[in-house]
Point group: C2
Chain length 509, copies 2
């Protein structure tokens, strides 16, 4: 049965197709020429187009992030300098044919950020030194145990150490910091022990290798730190700041877009959908943040950051930002869905919702300023207070909702005049379901406010750990310093207890 | 002022402390001994404890994932075999001192998954070959241009090629596939050109290097594919399956936990909070999925997967799963918040909400079976239909909500007897606000159902691309085959239009 149907379907198709294309049929020879031409065009233009597109992409990348192009030039420069060891006779005689190791070190170790380069240099140096000395020890033991046992001892030691070191690369604490070092350890150990069986001047080789690696690493470190250094720490800091800005923009954009009909001022007339999508960057930045935080730990003091800047705290800020972004994602789906709450309800809540979202995004923007200036904000407590006030206002206006919608009916009831009471009741009370789409939005806005406080907490912790100074503001000069520490404690208490307390009291009525 | 206060605060503390500890004061000598003992204990036990903890962690990791320990053993084995080229005279004479390159290749190229190893081997081979031949060309040109120009030409070529190749590593399409190859290209090119200036037997060296690399890579590929192979593709597949299971569990757990008071059967009595947290793994698996999908593309046919298995589709499934997980995250915060909806409302919606969440998680579980068996499910359309029916039911019960809550009041109104009407109204109608917390939950559940369909869509696309066969089910044998293709199309139409249509029609009333 099914087969018959499929076949008949095919037949139909076959009959239809010639009918449809009969108008454009060409003589056989012309069609062949046409085909050949198209094939040739595809053959020639295809690769050219691919290469063109690739170059275009590369050019755009270079223009957008010139640092990446500069990194390429830096590596080229570094290699050129190292090559001089080969070209210049006196230098060549100094380190001998092992100068190759310096070239290798430069290529392998030179990374785009200072942190990554330092991490790799450190790992390479320590890994080479440890493995080299261990290999020399094993070698001397093996030599003393006679010709037959020597390869066996060496073989077993290579097997065991390589297995253990490889396994250790899977352990999280090793993986984040010493992954490359473990690999270099295996490499050096096996190279030295294995070649030690042949090369007689083992000690000399090992020391030469160490010295060439020292040349390579120090050159890398010098160039990466002196010429247009790219700091992982600054990058991480900027990433967090940018993400905070994007969160604030998305929140503003989403809620503004939803209540747009109410002629709320949407500010500048750029494309709002692009602004609204900013939170998506926050959703996917976890891996980047963690890698950069790990690299930043290796970096010395640079710019406005001390050596022991609490980079660990940044992924925590990132986590709290992601929590907020999840809510904005849900909010966004709320807003983009084709469901629209009744206009009366929307109007009733528009102002308070806009107020709350504006206040939340203002807290976020204040955190951006805190991060940008590396100073404790004097306004942040005020802004959080305002945000919580807005939560309360939103809840109050929810409270007043039944009155304004049910109120009229109740007053009619108190003075019942006729049988048309029932119809009044039906038109005045919006069915409970109509509230549902907006209810989700309101709930998410309140949740976003709570999570914004979470971000503020995380930034506050960073400010404490990194000992940010208080912003030199006119207001803060006059009011703050007198009771700074106590107000901070109070603020913390408020931050932790207020929103849940309000929510609880409010909803459990 | 502030200073004075701070100082006084400090003084207070100083005064308080001796007071508080005066009871436990010891003679000076005893305290010193005690201190020294503690210091010594810390000095001895600290490192031992750290090492002990590290070993304990490593042991646990090895027990939990023996594949990782096996990988270590495999690398050790591979190195041992390569070392034989050094130990055995005939082999050594064959490849000469360059056997070192084989050792190096093994250490650098041997990765835990087959895909990663193949990718690196391919990159290393192509990179070495391209750079080697290019370097020979440049070398011969440089040689012909005289002694003075030779180092200049070589220097410029190294600088330019290294810069360009390094920059190209930042281009996304190169980064995902040829990152390692670009590095090897730079390495080989600079090594060959730079050393070519000194070493006279350049061609011989290049060919020897190529042959040793061939030995190393082929050995790596052989061992990684023959002894307990770890396939990136299978790993990715399992990851997606596991994440689907976790999503279903989280959804069940969350909604079950919320309506627990209503004595709904929560099934087995394991810790529900652990089950509920499963979605968090889904939130953070983006990077892993993308890396594994890129590696899986390199792998040959293995297990039940063909060579051209559509691995690209897996990250797409992952993305649709994450979208669902975002909603579950918001749902979870809904449930964990201390706000509780009024019991009457909760009771009214408990059954339908549970039905919807159960249906959604059943769709997810059916997708798990589809993925596990690599067969198109015959039940999935039915289950999605049921889920949409549950959405409708939930909406119907929302519709019946105003009647059951407002209804009684209205009937009272129709027969007004006294002044106590107002109090009846107030107790009978739950204030609109009380609906809000539950409203968000309901909205999110409906959204989750829509996003579950998104996951089903993505899995369906995978089934189409990978040409999954239809599951040989009794039901499917009888009903399905007659109109398989048409029902599929209908199903797609249903999937895309139904939920939004229902929601729209429902909420815009």
């Amino acid at each position: 049965m099914a087969n018959a149907k499929q076949v008949s379907g095919k037949l139909e198709w076959r009959i239809n197709v010639p009918d449809g294309t009969s108008n454009v049929l060409l003589p056989e020879s012309d069609r062949l020429v046409n085909k050949a031409w198209l094939w040739l065009k595809g053959l020639l233009c295809g690769p050219i187009l691919i290469i063109w597109r690739f170059l275009y992409k590369a050019w755009n990348l270079g223009v957008a992030e010139p640092k990446k192009a500069i990194h390429g030039v830096k590596l080229g420069l570094c290699l050129l300098i190292v090559s001089c060891f080969y070209y210049m006779r006196p230098l060549y005689d100094g380190v001998g044919g092992n100068a190759m190791w310096a070239v290798m070190t430069v290529v392998v170790v030179f990374e785009s950020t200072v942190g990554a380069t330092l991490c790799k240099c450190f790992n390479r140096a320590i890994g080479t030194f440890l493995a080299g000395s261990l290999a020399l020890g094993v070698q001397s033991i093996a030599e003393k145990s006679g010709k037959t046992f020597q390869p066996i001892i060496i073989g077993i030691s290579v097997f065991v150490l390589a297995s253990v070191a490889t396994f250790s690369r899977f352990i999280p604490s090793v993986k984040t910091r010493f992954d490359y070092g473990a690999m270099i350890f295996i490499l050096t150990f096996s190279l030295v022990t294995v070649s030690g069986y042949r090369v007689e001047k083992l000690f000399e080789m090992a020391s030469q290798r160490l010295s060439t690696i020292a040349i390579g690493t120090s050159l890398c470190i010098f160039i990466t730190m002196v010429f247009c250094p790219i700091w992982a720490g600054s990058g991480l800091h900027d990433l967090i700041v940018r993400n905070l800005e994007k969160l604030a923009d998305s929140l503003d954009g989403c809620v503004g877009e939803y209540f747009k009909d109410d002629k709320t001022k949407l500010g500048n007339e750029e494309d709002p959908s692009k602004r609204m999508q900013g939170y998506k960057c926050v959703l996917n930045s976890k891996a980047t943040e963690e890698v950069m935080a790990n690299l930043a730990k290796w970096e010395p003091a640079h710019g406005r950051f001390n050596f022991r800047h609490p980079w660990k705290q940044y992924p925590k800020i990132g986590t709290s930002m992601r929590k907020c972004a999840y809510c904005i994602e849900a909010l966004n789906s709320c807003i983009n869905s084709e469901i629209q709450a009744p206009d009366c309800l929307k109007k009733h809540l528009s102002d308070v919702c806009m107020l709350l979202s504006t206040n939340s995004s203002e807290v976020l923007k204040e955190l951006v300023i805190t991060m940008k200036t590396l100073t404790k904000s004097s306004k942040i407590d005020l802004l959080i207070g305002e945000m919580n006030l807005a939560v309360q206002k939103l809840q109050d206006s929810l409270n007043s909702l039944p009155d304004s919608f049910i109120g009229p009916t109740v007053s009619t009831l108190q003075a019942p005049n006729d049988a048309n009471i029932e119809t009044i009741t039906k038109t005045a009370i919006p069915s409970l379901i109509e509230v549902f789409p907006l209810a989700s939005l309101v709930y998410l806005l309140i949740e976003i406010a709570a999570r914004t406080e979470g971000i503020a907490d995380a930034v506050d912790q960073l400010a404490g750990l990194a000992e940010f100074k208080l912003a030199m503001d006119e207001n803060s000069k006059q009011k703050k310093p007198t009771s700074n520490s106590t107000s901070d404690i109070q603020h913390h208490e408020t931050m932790e207890t207020l929103p849940k307390y309000i929510l609880h009291e409010y909803f459990s009525r």
